[in-house]
Amino acid sequence: MLDPSVLTRVLDAALRGGGDFAEVFVEDRRSTGARLDDGRVEQVGSGRDRGAGIRVVVGDTTGFAHTADLTDGGLERAARAAGAAARDGGGMVRTVALDDCSRGLAPPAEVLPETVAKADKVELLLRADEAGRAVGGAVSQMTVGYGDSRRRILVANSDGLLVGDDVVRTSLRVSAVAEGDTGMQTGYETVARTVGFELFDEVEVDEVARSASHRALSKLAARPAPTGVMPVVIKAGRGAVLFHEACGHGFEADAIEKRASVFTGKVGEQVASPSVTLVDDGTMSYEWGASAIDDEGAPSARNVLIDEGRLSDYMWDFLRARKAGRPSSGNGRRQSYQHLPMVRMTNTYLLAGEEDPEELVRQTSYGVYVAQINGGEVNTVTGDFVFGMSEAYLIENGEITVPLRAANLIGNGPEVLRNIDAVANDFAMASGGGLCGKNGQSVPVGMGQPTLRVRGMTIGGTAA
């Protein structure tokens, strides 16, 4: 994207007045989106973002500036601004030599989005609409969204690093509304992977749409969810967001450094039931949070956070790792060139156990079976969370009985980890497409989990 000699000059300019570290992050992102709603392809849109973010570190202070102007002059202005922000003055001059170590490390997408006719992308929407409506007359609305993006990045820093990546992501999101005597209900299904258009060779679009419709229809017969604390069985892959949000964030080194996590200072301690092993893994090809390198140029890695209940390590970005005198774990990510990197998760999942998933339900006399969790919110300091159950059923006498209306599930992440009393052998990743928000930045993340049971969680229903 940019010549190494240009990058060298920019890093030199950034450090001209002194500084411990400088970095240039260059990004060129193209995206396409199409949306069908109410039986119409409402719009096809495309976008282009291109620019560079430059940071300079002096002591504990980071200066940052970004620009969409990738000319030599534009880059140099941004470099000087970042440098000036990071220091009061000083005179040390450093010269940077870049090693062009590698580029294009990501498993290449087979079918790049720009090689696919827009008409073929739009065709997917129509197919999903038709398949979803065909499920039943009570399906009154379908919304289908298609999206693809190709993000090319280049990272160069004053340690001599020069590395690039080229990441393609493709997604299809379907939402159905069903109308019955009891009012309207919605159902969702998504498929999203870090691949090109070949996604649709593997994934049956009709099937995605049908499951959204089935979900909406089944909820028409739903009754109000119960209220209070009870056992909860979470279906494989369907509740992984809970562990990402309410546990994973507590393992991010920036929170640890500021003692803003309940897991601070607990390396080696038993923090979860022995059946729990929690991993963050940016190397899981094709999953939504995958990439070859993070946004600071460190290679993606598989990091074990909890090993059989014991806290084994946190996740690290460049700055936090440098302070701790250890290597980055490949978790330095940013939304775009307009943002500073920070510690972020990639694909976070709980490993499978040994029990039979059906047996988990059979052993539960009364509780809730959660088949889909949608968005939620968590206080990362305490781990207190709230999640919406968008598909859930009552468990009565060891059997899944009636569907429940949407309700919230609340609890505390660290407590849930200790209260997991059974883990099944049926691991699944979530369907993808999740965006994790932190300090105003969103990045794509993947997650997964086997069917498991939590001894007690609070259900926020309306049934007395």
């Binding site: 709603d37 719009q43 969409a68 209900q185 939620g376 949407a406 609340i410």
Partner: protein, 448 residues
Amino acid sequence: MSVDLEELVARIAGQARPGEQVEAYAARGQESDVVVYGGEIESLSTATSEGVGVRVVVDSREGFAYAGSLDPDVVAETLADARDNAAFGTPDEYLGLAEPDGVAPAVLDLWRDEVAGFPPAEKLALAFELERLVLAGDARICSVKSAHYGDTAVQAAIATSTGIARSNRRTGCYLAVVALAAQGEETKSGVGYSVGRGPADLDVTEAAADAVERSTRLLGATKPASGRLPVVFDKRVTTSLLSILAGTMSGDAVLKGRSLFARRMGEKVGVAGLTLVDDPTNPAAYGASPNDSEGLACRRNVLIDDGVLQGFIYNTYAGRRAGRASTASAVRGGFKSTPGIGCRALSLEPGHLDQAGILAQVGDGLLVQSISGVHSGVNAVSGDFSVGAEGVMIRGGEPAEAVREVTIASTLQRMLSGVVAVGNDTEWLPGSAAGVTLAVAEMSLGGA
């Protein structure tokens, strides 16, 4: 050399071919952000971003493209992309850009020159002062996760080949701090902030006190028993509730049968006396704006009048489809998106009691000071409402013990019909709605 936005959008709109409508929306923002931690500067960021979004309507189809650059070659490519994209939409007779409707925009002063000239040293001084005040505010405060000062200055211009040409600009700045409080093994966090259009509006003492209060008040909080009881919402919480309600009043959601208010126009949806208005021409509103995102002058829209559903909000497309004029309620998230529909300055007609008076009236119940899980917990279609809540119990008309990790649930329909009091304490808070104390007769509380 920076490009003149008004000239740029006029030039793009001027390239409309016969039978084609073209809209260009361009924006340029400057922002700065300083973060301090532990008496040291953690980061200083400065940024300028600019870009353009182009919509083309041709043969009753619409296409859109954006670019985060105003380079002439990129702008030309963006217009070409939008044209190309239009070929793939489904033809729809109601598509089309806004046309001038003769309503004059309110004169609003949303720009403060001081923002651009505010020296970095003073920004840092404010952030350090904020951190210091929070740490000194209560013995239980153990640390400050971060203290921020930030500001933005945004200019935007829109022009269409149908005769719209408007521009506006606004500034904003804020102080925000996350405090951590500890007592024994327990740690709680709380966010405090102060916002304004310029540095002079910021109140560092208030932001600090807010964070101290919010981080300490839940120490020792317990989980109450499940049950049904009256609920009073604190101001900040009401702001979120009104924003959710606004989503259900969008003409688009109504047309597509995705609102619990579809087919209920003119019906009683709330208690007598309940009046909900969206008025972006009110200069006191945080979201005040002279024009909407399609270039029409913003105006006062009454949504619920004395408990009766009075109106929905529309952008140009949804209005045409409903056989109505736009209510100038087009909103967009910047140049990267097309105009959606939303409120900017919602408020409930205030009542006569302050919060203490309302608590006395309620007697026993729950005062909710924060809610979470709003986006997953409220269904605009069915009206189902279930969110996480923290706050204090109300006993004998007075605030009593703190409670946490509870859920409150009901439906939006029942909540609106069950409003027993609206406070007289209206305050414009960041977001699209005003805060005010609000009491509802009964909700389900999920606790121990």
